[in-house]
């Protein structure tokens, strides 16, 4: 166990002590104890920065289940470090923010920080694991801790609904990913990501390549809220705002992005990978930004905005995968898309984190997040307003913030995509820049809605529960730090160069050199710049006329939304399975018997047909004497009488006839012990039947003939025939000699007895007899208990 293992596990270790700290230091907000850890971890990762930027990677393995190739292997490279910095950095800020956001007295802080620390550790595990099964374990742990955090206010029904929804969707994806991991394992024989990348030739040539690819993408798409799995994210906004800022904007939703980036060296270059990621990404981008405009809840706007931005990053990763296909080019113009993806990943984490915190402040200070009630807060909350402007403009892609830079690069990537001359891109290539451009206009609109509907316009104090004022300093510091980063990254993007370069090294296989990661403010008069100007112009126009065209959202039929599909699907599934269970679990024993016997007859017939067991010979048959014939006739007549008699009494008597004939058969076939026993047992059981008959209740004593049912008839006939066939078949295909010769000899010589049956019962196979008398004893005890210890309904005797 090395230091980095401890780093990953430290949040879990601290989580153990959080409840104790909460209990014994009641006067101090528990968050302060937690705050130190992410800061320390952040410093630790910063310390590794230089080393990783120099191109070094770090691998450390701790044995977990070595016999199955499952080991806790930690691999620190550019991509992992980038995410680890995001997780710990924003984690520290979120913890600080939550100290002021969550009340010490009213909230269950111990559970909150335990879940948050669990999540932090799990997320670090996801991005730093080299072993895919360990990665999967941490992946599911993020789902679980996210579930717990969303339902933090579990007494609200909407929280529970949102938590369940996100759980179902992300765990569905997680399990798909597990299947993908197993498929990759069958191809390569290893769970290690690095070793899988090393044997990429086997994987690409394998027939399971496409299924594995799709399964991995299912995992990534569900986690990263890509269309159509994005529906859980808006409902996850029921979580406390620090959670939304941390999980649902900066870290967990980027786990899918991480997975796509991490598995790119394995899958990139294949057309399926390119198409699925690019198309789903661009649709998510468009759909998210389009839907964000119609929202009235600030957090819902941010949720759809997150969905859209994640789609943006995803589509960039898809376009960037073309770089692997064209690796023979001197100047690879497609790497710029991946570069833009990584850069925007960082930018999005900064501005979206700060925007969530701003929204949290507004919610906290005014008591509502509804933009229809808000307005005119500019003068009351100037700092918050400034933060919102920085975050919002960056999100809209305006200069001089970092969002502008990554949006320019995004356009570059999309425009370059039209030059791809493979995979039908000649035909469909144009949809990428066009959709991207339209989506950017909507992004611009909702960013403006977010800023100006909240902070400008008419102040409506009568609609607010509280009298708004500026937030406490502790609540402002985290968004201020993030907003400063937005500005700093905007003006000096070069400081991120080393980190981005290191991350790109891990996304592209080693034979790639990402030499010039250049992020410029000024590209010259390029297409991208004109596109941005167009976005601003159209966006402003549309924002100002929003009231006129805003009702287009009403056109969209509400019944056709994905949420309705999800809800209806759940209800349908429940109803369907209930109906199915009701269909075969009728509660009538006769129906179950029909199923059991029908299945038995069918299965045996099929097996006999399959194995060709219908071969009958009468070579071993004995001669049939007249006594046997007569007895058999008596038995058949008695059996038929049982079926057709009207009264139960004659049925019991007929059954007795069958039993006594049986004992006569034993006499005929020279089995005196059996005959004796059969005689007495039959007498006893007939007596017991008569007893039952005598005690039948008066009401049901109606004398009824057995009713004829065709199904029962067919099934009983077929069971009878099948059993006869098996008997004949077994008798005519004897494979070994009987061992009875041994018993004949040994019963006197070795056991000192002349009654062979008895010797077998008590000596050779006494073990069977022992348990048969045990069965009898249990039966006697059972009857005794049933009759003597009957309880009435009240529970007394």
């Amino acid at each position: 166990m090395s230091l980095i293992h401890l780093v990953i596990l430290s949040p879990f270790l601290l989580a153990i002590f959080v409840p104790l700290l909460h209990k014994y230091f009641k006067r101090i907000h528990t968050g302060w104890f937690v705050l130190a850890l992410p800061i320390l971890l952040f410093i630790y990762f910063i310390g590794n920065l230089g080393n990783v930027m120099a191109g070094n990677t770090y691998l450390s393995t701790m044995n977990w289940i070595p016999s199955m190739g499952i080991n806790f292997a930690v691999y620190l490279d550019g991509l992992g470090l980038l995410f680890a910095l995001l997780i710990t950095g924003i984690g520290s800020l979120v913890v600080l923010y939550s100290i002021y956001y969550l009340s010490k007295e009213k909230e269950a802080l111990n559970t909150f920080y335990v879940y948050l620390l669990m999540f932090m550790g799990a997320m670090l595990g996801v991005v730093l694991s080299d072993n895919m099964l360990v990665l999967y374990s941490f992946w599911e742990l993020t789902s679980i801790s996210s579930f717990l955090l969303i339902s933090y206010w579990y007494h609200r029904e909407k929280s529970r609904y949102g938590a369940l929804k996100s759980m179902l969707i992300t765990v569905f994806g997680g399990l798909s990913m597990l299947a993908g991991i197993i498929l990759l394992y069958t191809m390569t024989g290893t769970f290690s990501v690095r070793e899988t990348i090393a044997s990429v030739d086997i994987v690409t040539a394998h027939e399971l390549f496409v299924p594995a690819l799709i399964l991995f993408l299912l995992g990534a798409f569900t986690k990263s809220a890509q269309f159509p799995f994005h529906i859980w994210l808006p409902d996850a906004m029921e979580a406390p705002t620090p959670v939304s800022a941390y999980l649902h904007s900066a870290t967990m939703v980027k786990a899918g992005i991480y997975l796509v980036a991490r598995m790119s060296p394995v899958f990139a270059g294949a057309p399926e990978w390119f198409w699925l990621i690019s198309i789903f990404g661009i649709i998510t981008l468009f759909w998210g930004s389009f839907s964000a405009v119609k929202q009235t809840d600030l957090k819902a706007i941010l949720a759809f905005s997150t969905i859209s931005q994640l789609g943006l990053i995803m589509s960039l990763l898809g376009i960037g995968s073309a770089a692997v296909y064209y690796d023979y080019l001197e100047e690879n113009i497609y790497t710029v898309a991946t570069l833009a993806a990584v850069f925007h990943l960082i930018n999005h984490a900064t501005f979206k984190g700060s925007l969530f915190m701003v929204v949290g402040i507004v919610d906290h200070e005014t008591g509502t997040r509804d933009i229809r009630k808000l307005g005119g807060l500019m003068n009351l909350m100037p700092i918050t307003f400034t933060l919102a402007i920085i975050g919002g403009f960056s999100m809209a892609g305006l200069p001089p913030f970092n969002g502008f830079l990554s949006k320019e690069m995004f356009f570059t990537g999309m425009v370059n995509a039209t030059q791809i001359d493979a995979w039908n891109m000649e035909t469909f290539g144009m949809i990428f820049p066009v959709l991207a451009w339209i989506a950017s206009i909507f992004t611009f609109i909702y960013s403006m809605v977010l800023i100006f509907k909240t902070f400008t316009g008419k102040y409506q104090p009568e609609k607010l529960d509280k009298k708004p004022h500026e937030a406490p300093l502790g609540m402002l510091i985290p968004p201020i730090i993030l907003a400063s980063l937005v500005v700093i990254f905007g003006f000096f993007p070069e400081i991120l160069k080393g980190l981005i370069e290191a991350a790109l090294h891990s996304i592209f296989p080693s034979n790639f050199t990402v030499e010039d990661v250049h992020i410029y403010f000024w590209h010259g008069w390029t297409t991208e710049l004109f596109m941005t100007i167009g976005v601003i112009a159209f966006g402003s126009l549309l924002y100002l006329t929003l009231a006129k065209w805003g009702n287009i959202y009403e056109w969209f039929p509400k019944r056709l939304t994905l949420n309705k599909l999800y809800d209806g699907g759940l209800v349908g599934l429940e109803r369907g399975s209930f109906a199915f269970t009701k269909f075969y679990m009728t509660g009538f024993i006769r129906n179950y018997l029909v199923m059991i016997f029908g299945f038995m007859a069918l299965l045996l017939l099929l097996v006999m047909g399959q194995t060709g067991a219908f071969n009958f010979s009468l070579d071993n048959a004995s001669k049939v004497g007249v006594y046997e014939l007569i007895l058999a006739l008596v038995m058949v007549i008695a059996a038929i009488t049982i079926l057709f008699t009207k009264s139960r009494l004659s049925a019991i008597i007929a059954l007795g006839v069958v039993g006594y004939s049986m004992s006569l058969f034993f006499v005929l076939f020279r089995a005196p012990d059996l005959a004796l026993t059969q005689l007495i047992v039959e007498t006893v059981s007939v007596a017991l039947f008569l007893l039952c008959f005598y005690h039948l209740p008066e009401i049901s004593k109606k004398v009824n003939r057995l009713r004829f049912r065709l199904t029962n008839f067919i099934i009983s006939i077929s069971v009878g025939i099948v059993v006869i066939l098996i008997g004949l078949s077994v008798n005519s295909s004897r494979v070994a000699e009987s061992i009875s010769d041994y018993f004949v000899k040994a019963s006197y010589e070795e056991a000192g007895g002349k009654n062979m049956v008895n010797v077998i019962l008590v000596d050779f196979r006494g073990f069977d007899t022992l348990f048969e008398i045990a069965v009898l004893t249990i039966a006697a005890f059972g009857i005794y208990a049933m009759i003597k210890l009957r309880l009435t309904k009240g529970g007394s005797q």
Binding site: P672, D673, L676, T677, I680, V681, V684, L688, L691, A751, G752, G753, K754, N755, V757, N758, V759, L761, V762, D763, G766, F767, T769, L770, I773, A774, L776, T777, A779, A780, F781, I783, Y784, I787, K788
Partner: protein, 140 residues
């Protein structure tokens, strides 16, 4: 009207003993001729049932104050112990042995440990048969 069962009761008094002796015969003869613990036990119960029919349950319990559940349990115990006894001679569970002995009256007789096992079977069968019949008979 009180039924007078004099003939039945008188005959039963004789018959029950004859059946009982026959059942003992069946039990002991089991190793050489048809019979054994199971059928012997059933016959003994038949004798007891005959007594039950001729008299009534209360009289029976006075004459034979036995809890037949205990009889079944003791029988099962004897059978198991017979099997366990094999361990004393360092042989597998339920290994039986037999020996020819000269007895004063009966002469040369085989004495087998299977007899003890069969005794267990016998007692279990008597116990359960009587328990079932008595329990059902007593129930209202």
């Amino acid at each position: 009207m009180k039924v007078n069962d004099l003939i039945l009761q008188t005959v039963t008094t004789f018959l029950a003993f004859i059946i009982f002796i026959f059942s003992i015969y069946l039990f002991f003869a089991g190793h050489y001729t048809p019979g054994g613990g199971f059928i012997g036990g059933l016959m003994t119960s038949a004798a007891l049932v005959l007594l039950l029919l001729a008299y009534d349950i209360k009289t029976m319990q006075k004459a034979l104050p036995i809890n037949f559940l205990t009889v079944a349990a003791v029988g099962l115990m004897i059978s198991i112990l017979t099997g366990v006894g094999a361990f004393l001679f360092d042989v597998p569970f339920l290994t039986h042995a037999f020996q020819y002995i000269e007895l004063p009256i009966l002469g040369k007789t085989a004495l087998a440990s299977t007899l003890a096992f069969d005794l267990g079977v016998y007692l279990v069968v008597v116990g359960i048969a009587m328990t079932i019949i008595q329990t059902i008979g007593e129930s209202e």
